[in-house]
């Protein structure tokens, strides 16, 4: 399309194809493959997706091995295979593994499960945000932000009776599953990433869970060769992030926010 400067008044052409569509189509296609494991959508590149399923599992395997104390109840998806670079597919495969397992006084067994790439109930998340004292944000925005974040990591607590039989129904387990922590990161998938919204239920704080959450997220980002990982820390958590390897205002880099007048 050629624009020729003329002296007549400016006119707007309505025949131009919408540029905005090209932005959104990216996210729509990625949303479809997010639910690939849960629904029967026809997958256009079937074999390629399967290959990446395997390589993502290997990638998480290497991270998990750095932390897990208790090896018996891990659930990983696929055996490891060679890792390749593939930029068009989903960044994270739904993976979860147990971080901590402990027995409580009343005989119940509590498992803290780390998971990434799974679905999060926004209502649960809002409840959690209320617990830590964060201001309320519109649910639709929250849901959109979660869907379009590059990585979302969550911590759930699952309570099981110590004498649980193998026949525990899925539903029972779901009812005892509680969201206790979350962290998410947005990125351009190549150079930069920003970590937002790191929170842990106050009842579960002080146990190293937040540290594990952030550390795993950071390690996952570094494994993807994303070099600039930044975040904006409230004053009371600056030390927390410093212990994890973050530096405040490195080389004079500061973050500025847009405030319309």
């Amino acid at each position: 399309m050629i624009l020729i400067p003329t002296s007549s008044s400016c006119s707007s052409y309505s025949c131009c194809s919408l540029p905005q569509a090209s932005f959104n189509s990216n996210s729509y296609s990625s949303n479809q493959s997010l639910f690939l494991s849960k629904s029967a959508y026809p997958i256009p590149h079937g074999s390629r997706k399967l290959k990446t399923l395997r390589l993502r599992a290997n990638f998480w395997e290497s991270i998990r091995s750095g932390f897990v104390k208790n090896n018996n109840t891990t659930q990983l998806v696929e055996p490891p295979s060679t890792i390749e670079e593939d930029e068009d597919t989903e960044p994270v495969l739904p993976v979860e593994f147990t971080l901590v397992e402990r027995t409580l006084q009343d005989g119940l067994v509590e498992e803290i499960i780390f998971s990434s790439g799974g679905e999060i109930d926004v209502y649960d998340l809002q409840t959690l945000c209320d617990k830590v004292g964060w201001p309320r944000r519109p649910l639709t925005k929250l849901a959109a932000a979660l869907k379009n974040s590059y990585m979302v990591a969550t911590l759930h607590s699952v309570l099981k009776p110590s004498s649980s039989s193998e026949g525990d129904t899925e539903q029972q387990q779901q009812q005892n599953k509680k969201l206790i922590g979350m962290a998410r990161a947005t990125s351009d998938h190549a150079f930069n990433a920003t970590i937002w919204d790191v929170l842990v239920d106050p009842e579960y704080q002080g146990q190293g869970l937040g540290k594990a959450l952030v550390e795993k997220l950071v390690r996952a980002l570094l494994q993807k060769d994303i070099g600039n990982i930044s975040l904006f820390a409230d004053s009371q958590v600056v030390d927390f992030y410093q212990n994890l390897g973050f530096e405040a205002d490195p080389e004079g880099i500061k973050g500025m926010f847009w405030y319309p007048k």
Partner: protein
């Protein structure tokens, strides 16, 4: 005399022609009001040209200098980064405007070297010669329409977001010879306009100390909630 030609919806034009003007009165001979073409379409971006722009603006994709001071941007990563950025703004202008402004300054070594290699004249004579030829040739080129394919990439900026709450602006750059003409501000304003049209108001930009006045002039400020910017600096243990 300034005018705007918009394509598409007037408030969310994807391609726009604008005039920028240098505020200071120096360099009287060169035209200080030049047309630039702003595009927000990814297909207008030529990756090679973009990588060249990164080098010429001395902009490294790795923010922290210790993370590899190589100035050549990895092409594959650049392609991924552009395709995954939610907003990209590129600014083009006519090649002869870029060359002319570089001839006024001596510090752009690249352009100097190129001209020296193509002709055996000394830089001073070259400049004089180009001025004589400039009037006719440039008058013709001035009439030619400016479009991304005919123009040269001189400014760029991109941002990625989560389509809901937050966004981050990165890799904002303008050719050094064409700075201080309002191009950078044009890019930032376009990015924020596109983001706010999608209802994202939490827009962050990481900037070095020397870039802060620029962002301040564009409407950015330190976080009102008093948060500290932190970046990961520890190397990954094997």
């Amino acid at each position: 005399m300034g005018f705007v030609v918009c394509v598409g919806n007037a408030s969310l034009a994807s391609m726009e022609l604008r005039w920028v003007r240098r505020r200071s009165k120096c360099d009287v001979d060169a035209p200080r009001s030049i047309p630039v073409f702003i595009s927000t379409l990814k297909r207008d971006i030529n990756l090679e040209e973009l990588r060249h722009l990164y080098s010429r603006c001395d902009h490294s994709c790795n923010r922290l200098s210790k993370d590899g001071g190589s100035s050549i941007v990895d092409m594959k990563k650049l392609r991924t980064a552009i395709s995954r950025s939610d907003v990209v703004v590129s600014v083009f202008c006519k090649s002869h405007h870029v060359e002319k402004s570089t001839s006024d300054k001596d510090d752009d070594d690249d352009a100097e070297e190129e001209r020296l290699s193509s002709s055996s004249l000394f830089p001073l004579d070259l400049r004089r010669q180009s001025k004589e030829e400039s009037s006719l040739g440039h008058m013709f080129q001035d009439v030619l329409p400016l479009s991304p394919s005919s123009g040269q990439l001189v400014g760029f900026g991109r941002a990625y977001s989560d389509y809901g709450l937050t966004a981050s602006i990165h890799d904002l750059m303008v050719l050094p010879s064409l700075q201080r003409m309002g191009i950078g501000k044009l890019i930032v304003n376009r990015i924020t306009r596109l983001l706010t049209s999608r209802d994202i108001y939490d827009i962050a930009a990481l900037c070095f100390e020397h870039e802060r006045p620029f962002f301040k002039a564009c409407g950015f400020a330190d976080d009102r909630m008093g948060s500290t910017t932190m970046m990961f600096t520890k190397s990954l243990e094997a």
